[in-house]
Symmetry: C2
Subunit: 146 residues, 2 copies
DNA sequence: CCGCTTTCGATAACTATTATTATATGCTAA
DNA sequence: TTAGCATATAATAATAGTTATCGAAAGCGG
């Protein structure tokens, strides 16, 4: 029961209610480096919670994102969102054909210069290095803030 | 007629047929730094081609992307794709609320370290720097290649 | 345990994109 | 220049991923 308490604490500390569904989703994401999609998460959690709905997964991920428990990004497969529980800034490798997403180990300086060298085995032929700097709010959005 | 010929040449050089629709779309994209969506492009081109369909815009952009005339990325607004005719590797600033996309001038080394410093006026509060390295194919996709 | 609030799940709606197909048009070779 | 072929176009329908609605169920503070 210790693991459950640990996860429940994480939720509570972020002001989120503790429910079996949220625990299951958080448990699946915790330490996960596979960049799963909502569908992936749904499939995995369904094993323990056959009645869970995809909607709930989306709602939960939305809550997790707002609470900064996961990072959501859209650079990968088709138009699916990928969810990454690793909050450390780090680069991703995306296959331009299948959209698979992998982590790059490099997290420091000279990212672009190092990109080609640090590509994991099986990735090659860099077409382009796309760098997306994501900030909280642009000026316009900040103005409209309360 | 000179400008038209210039654009037509660009198309032909990439093995693309020259049509009024393609010329209009290319003309709109040429030198454009606004990262327009398919919808944006559709709206702009409709001025000269009221009969053009959104479908044609998508098909044309798909052809342009394959011919490497534009770069398509999905990191911005909701799940819309943005199209960028600038083929030079360069970073983008994305507002996490409205999804607006701006170019960062920096294109060299130390991108991540420089990101905060090089943020254009009106952007602030860096939540996270997301770096996406896009390669041609991962090993699996390359194996299935002919 | 009570009551208030939030979350859940079923269902439907929505948005961005892609597929289908008949017609129209660009392009090539005679 | 034109015939014929391949490709592009536009109308329409379909799809994928996600978000909205709402009644029922469950968490949480007292």
């Amino acid at each position: 029961m210790k693991e459950r308490d640990r996860l429940a604490d994480i939720l509570r500390r972020r002001g989120l209610r503790v429910t079996p569904q949220r625990l299951a989703i958080l448990s699946f994401l915790d330490g996960n480096t596979d960049h799963p999609t909502a569908e992936d998460i749904y499939a995995a959690v369904k094993a323990q919670h056959p009645a869970i709905s995809l909607n709930t997964v989306y709602k939960t991920l939305e809550a997790f994102e707002e609470a900064d428990l996961v990072w959501r990004f859209r650079a990968g497969q088709k138009h699916k969102s990928h969810y990454d529980p690793n909050s450390r800034t780090h680069p991703h490798v995306v296959c331009t054909r299948c959209g698979s997403v992998d982590d790059l180990p490099d997290d420091g300086e000279n990212l672009q210069a190092d990109a080609e060298k640090s590509l994991p085995d099986g990735h090659h032929d860099v077409l382009r290095v796309e760098v997306c700097v994501v900030v909280g709010l642009c000026e316009e959005c900040d103005d409209h803030d309360e």
